[in-house]
């Protein structure tokens, strides 16, 4: 049977990917960020999950507002790297675990999650800007992904409670897959930032650290918070951390945070946390 071996929460700021592509690992401005991901990369290299289940959002790249899903699950064997205006990043196409993804689709739809199913579409930095901090790209990706795209752009967004519940049923879906697979769940987004309006540039380090504590110790409390509170505390765009709740909901209730890093250089608080 497939097994969830742990979870990762991570920012997905596009500049993370650009810093990687430009080889800024030792640039003093970026070094603290790269250092923060090292324990996660090491954990992945040692624990060798067969699949990373990625909860992230597309940034009006592949999905446009004429047809916009709340939760869209990818079921392809392969995903191209999307062009976001600078041409695709120079990294390999992603390998999808299609049989697991299709099993998850069946299980979640049966449990009354109204998924959109997608295939043969390219994926944007929401997935692969954090991925290159954690997984080698050469000679190729070490294993496969299953992408879940979440609407955090066009309101109404799914409620935090719905995200947490989706995680809980995702666990059931994965654990009922007959093949022996090791799966890690990745929740992306945040932490605090606001890119628009007079409050653009807003951050809230106090809330960020509280969030990093609650996602470990009391995710149910986060699940009960209305989305408006996330927007007020973490900024309009910072509310995307509800995607961490999907990851947290999929972990065993007794899972614990074993690593955390936080870096706030520019407009978005960049964080990574590892749960086991």
């Amino acid at each position: 049977m497939a097994k969830i071996i742990g979870g990762i929460g991570t920012s997905h700021v596009p500049t993370i990917g650009i810093a990687f592509d430009k080889g800024r690992q030792n640039d003093p401005d970026w070094k603290p960020l790269f250092r923060g991901y090292e324990p996660v990369a090491k954990w992945l290299a040692e624990r060798k999950p067969d699949v990373l289940f990625f909860c992230f959002n597309d940034h009006a790249t592949t999905f446009f507002f004429d047809h916009y899903p709340t939760f869209a699950l990818g079921v392809s064997e392969e995903y191209r790297i999307a062009d976001e205006g600078l041409g695709p990043r120079p990294i390999p196409s992603l390998k999808g675990h299609a049989p697991l993804a299709r099993h998850i689709a069946r299980s979640l739809v049966d449990d009354e999650f109204d998924l959109t199913i997608f295939q043969d579409l390219p994926l944007d930095h929401g997935l692969h800007s954090p991925l290159t901090m954690m997984w080698p790209t050469k000679p190729d990706w070490p294993a496969k992904v299953v992408p879940l795209v979440v609407n955090v752009l066009q309101h109404p967004l799914p409620t935090p409670r719905r995200c947490f519940k989706l995680g809980q049923f995702l666990r059931k879906a994965i654990e009922s897959y007959p093949e022996d697979l090791k799966v890690a769940i990745v929740g992306t987004g945040g932490l605090s930032h606001q890119m628009i309006g007079e409050r653009a540039g807003f951050n809230n380090e106090k809330w960020d650290l509280e969030f990093l504590e609650l996602i470990d110790r009391d995710p149910e409390r986060l699940a009960r918070m209305p989305l408006e509170d996330y927007m007020r505390l973490g900024g309009n765009e910072g509310a995307e951390v509800i995607m961490w709740l999907i990851m947290r909901g999929a972990l065993a209730p007794g899972a614990r945070k074993i690593h955390q890093s936080y870096y706030l250089p520019m407009t978005t608080a960049m964080a990574v946390a590892l749960f086991e």
């Binding site: 596009p14 500049t15 810093a19 640039d27 401005d29 970026w30 940034h59 009006a60 790249t61 446009f64 507002f65 004429d66 999307a82 062009d83 976001e84 205006g85 600078l86 041409g87 752009l153 066009q154 309101h155 109404p156 890119m195 628009i196 309006g197 007079e198 653009a200 540039g201 927007m231 309009n236 765009e237 706030l264 250089p265 520019m266 407009t267």
Partner: protein, 105 residues
């Protein structure tokens, strides 16, 4: 103004956002860079004017999604901190003074 990208905003600015979104296609970017007026056919005069002047604040207030604006910004070589500064009504240098690591962009 709350700047929540809701269904009303989305409907109001759909044509503009569709244009911005189309810049994810390399051939559309090329056309826009070489013959912008041709690429902007179908936009209203107001919309064209905001794009011509890269008037980030006006585009935002009109209903452009930040994530669609990012496509225009990448195409024109503009960074996110420049856009954020414009939304705040500041210049880039002024904005960077408020940041902890101004080089990290």
């Amino acid at each position: 103004m709350k700047y929540v990208f809701d269904l009303e905003t989305s409907a109001r600015a759909l044509r503009l956002n569709r244009f911005l979104h189309s810049l994810t296609v390399a051939s559309k970017r090329k056309l826009f860079l070489e013959r912008p007026e041709e690429a902007m056919q179908g936009l209203s005069e107001t919309e064209k004017d905001m794009v011509r002047h890269l008037d980030w604040k006006a585009l935002q207030d009109y209903g452009a999604s930040f994530f669609c604006l990012e496509k225009l910004a990448r195409t024109k070589g503009v960074s996110n901190p420049e856009m954020v500064a414009a939304f705040r009504g500041e210049g880039l240098e002024e904005f960077l003074k408020t940041r902890r690591v101004p080089g990290a962009r």
